[in-house]
Symmetry: C2
Subunit: 223 residues, 2 copies
């Protein structure tokens, strides 16, 4: 298992696109399902057909990281799954903290999809007296947002989820950066100045919804 004789991982200088890495997550999810279905080996062609992907793209995406396939056969599901988990850094348990214990923060802290993929939500933060000291429904403790630095360091948090109101987002982000966390998933809308050394990934719910509004306005002149 984990055969990778020709270790041809791309040089650190070469940038793997975010589109590629997003797809790696998708492939991993497909493989999980295939494994559950008892499939042992799969070709890029079959994988593509089954999940509406492009076979050449699957091969190219994987080829950035090594030669995981067997010509004439395809990919061993179990083997490729392990490789993908390793590439995505999911082979160790990553600790996550959620900033903001509002509706959205609470929902994200207890989101089953995160736990299922091996993330561990270890802390939440808020500034409201009524919330500090309490827990999410799923049992994640809510800390005082003024203790960011202390708690993030103590808990050795890897990734922060930012779900605070827009006006607080920049300040909280700066605090998070100061505590040594390197990666932030941001749900607050608007422009943020990204501190040095931070990888920020933003999910903008309003933009997503407005892009559907655009589609309705342009594509579909009825109603």
């Amino acid at each position: 298992m984990l055969v990778n004789s020709k270790n041809k991982r791309k040089a650190a200088t070469e940038q793997v696109s975010e589109l590629t890495t997003g797809r790696l997550s998708v492939y991993l999810r497909c493989l999980n399902q295939l494994e559950a279905d008892g499939v042992e080996t799969i070709s890029s062609q079959t994988l593509a057909e089954r999940f509406h992907l492009n076979a050449a793209q699957i091969r190219k995406d994987l080829a950035y990281f090594g030669e995981f396939g067997v010509r004439g056969v395809g990919y061993y599901v179990k083997d490729l799954k392990l490789h993908l988990r390793q590439i995505l850094g999911l082979d160790r348990k990553l600790k996550v903290a959620v900033m903001g214990a509002g509706n959205l923060g609470m929902a994200l802290a207890d989101y089953p999809g995160f736990r299922r993929e091996g993330f561990e939500i270890v802390a939440m933060f808020d500034s409201a007296d009524g919330k500090i000291g309490e827990e999410s429904r799923g049992g994640v403790p809510i800390h005082d947002i003024r203790d960011i630095r202390k708690v993030l360091k103590k808990e050795r948090v890897d990734i922060v989820v930012l779900a605070v109101p827009a006006e607080a987002a920049q300040h909280v982000l700066d605090q998070v950066a100061g505590s040594g966390v390197k990666a932030v998933l941001n749900f607050s809308p608007g422009t943020l100045l990204v501190p040095e050394g931070i990888k920020l990934k933003s999910v903008d719910l309003t933009v997503s919804l407005e892009s559907l509004s655009f589609f309705l306005a342009q594509g579909d002149p009825t109603s």
Copy 2:
């Protein structure tokens, strides 16, 4: 106001990229802030500097839809705002329904950012007896998911937000499609077969978090 003498909107055949439409939302948000700050006119250059965008790209994105600027001056903030709202279809109130009254569905139904941009959340749906007939904290009524068709038609819902568990997503999506709704914002993970005539936009929380995990695993070999 709304001067657009040379109405040079692109032909319906021409596809405007989703990257472009996403940026239009962003520009609109920037303009809202500028207006609040009392700025009356702005050049693409200044807009770009202020919000970390690219000036040529702003001009090109806008140029798909008309000539909104004044040479030597820039854009009138109020005027461009109105144009963008119209392009994005935000000049009428869009009605939204949320499928799934779990943590995430509830949070989305009460998400203030949606209301702020003029969306109206009119209904939620769930299958749990304990939830049907209740309301979200913000007062959105929860219907029986078996009444999808009836309620969506009666309320004239424009956009559906899908926040049901992955195993239910396809079935609910098919129901939604059957009730005439044309646009769906999907939060459930995994592959969906998109019914004819539906525009599906997916936000995949797990993929977003995993892309940060990838960054930590690859980019940052410490820890």
